[in-house]
């Protein structure tokens, strides 16, 4: 449900001129909903950025890099990180 909520909020932001990127835990939901830019991560529910601060920073950097993706949407990329 959280994956749906972030996708719906992202759409409202993009309609108003703000670029967005969603971290996504359930890829199947992002494929159906199509948030404009999304990073699919290899972590269990409850750990959207992984468990330790270093991994969390890496996921954030991966996600933010998608903000400079030339498009077109929907952009759904797989994280290069492995589950920890």
């Amino acid at each position: 449900m959280c994956n749906q909520a972030v996708s719906l909020i992202a759409a409202e932001l993009e309609r108003r001129g703000i670029a967005t990127v969603c971290v996504i835990l359930l890829r199947e939901i992002a494929e159906r909903m199509r948030p404009p830019r999304a990073l699919s991560v290899p972590f269990p529910l409850g750990y959207p950025l992984g468990r330790d601060p270093a991994t969390q920073r890496k996921v954030i950097e991966e996600a933010l890099a998608l903000l400079e993706h030339p498009g077109p949407p929907p952009i759904l990329e797989e994280s290069g990180l492995r589950q920890r």
């Binding site: 449900m1 959280c2 994956n3 749906q4 909520a5 972030v6 996708s7 719906l8 909020i9 992202a10 759409a11 409202e12 932001l13 993009e14 309609r15 108003r16 001129g17 703000i18 670029a19 967005t20 990127v21 969603c22 971290v23 996504i24 835990l25 359930l26 890829r27 199947e28 939901i29 159906r32 909903m33 199509r34 948030p35 404009p36 699919s40 991560v41 290899p42 972590f43 269990p44 529910l45 409850g46 750990y47 959207p48 950025l49 468990r51 601060p53 969390q56 920073r57 954030i60 950097e61 996600a63 933010l64 890099a65 903000l67 400079e68 498009g71 077109p72 949407p73 929907p74 589950q83």
Partner: protein, 155 residues
């Protein structure tokens, strides 16, 4: 990786049959400036609230679609988990709220963060009021703040 097929049977059946909303037409706003110069805000649906803020209300049918504003200088360690979902392990976010609201991580990366951020509770089986009311309201506030980009985190 989390997959719907890994969830308990009741959740799996519900999610398989759930009418996920397809975003159509698909909006698209390019980033207007290089990332290091962009004003960034965080939106999380991890259901976290600051001490003194009302918890998300479990009694709201379809899920509490309200939001809380979290100042950029908030002490993340004090955030309180009030997410109603039982489908995930809450121990990580309760031990370190940065797991679901990574404001300290954004600061550590030296990013140009907005003065406020937004916390929602993402367990919304009936998201109509989120789409019609609270998501547009929060988005308008971020437009007024001059925010260029938003990172959105589920839990």
């Amino acid at each position: 990786m989390a997959e719907i097929s890994d969830l308990p049977l009741a959740s799996r059946l519900f999610l398989k049959a759930y009418p996920w909303r397809r975003i159509d037409p698909l909006p698209w706003s390019p980033l207007r400036k290089p990332l290091p110069e962009a004003r960034l805000a965080l939106v999380s649906t991890a259901g976290l609230v600051l001490p003194g803020q009302a918890p998300f209300d479990e009694r709201v049918r379809g899920g509490d679609y309200s939001y809380r504003e979290i100042p950029d200088d908030a002490d993340v360690s004090t955030l309180i988990d009030s997410h109603r979902s039982g489908t995930y392990d809450h121990s990580g976010v309760q031990a370190d709220p940065n797991v679901g609201f990574p404001l300290d991580r954004l600061h550590e990366l030296g990013l140009r963060t907005n003065a406020r951020h937004f916390s929602f509770m993402g367990s919304l089986t009936a998201p109509g009021r989120l789409v019609r009311e609270t998501a547009p309201e929060a988005a308008e506030k971020l437009v007024a703040d001059g925010v260029d980009a938003v990172l959105l985190i589920p839990i």
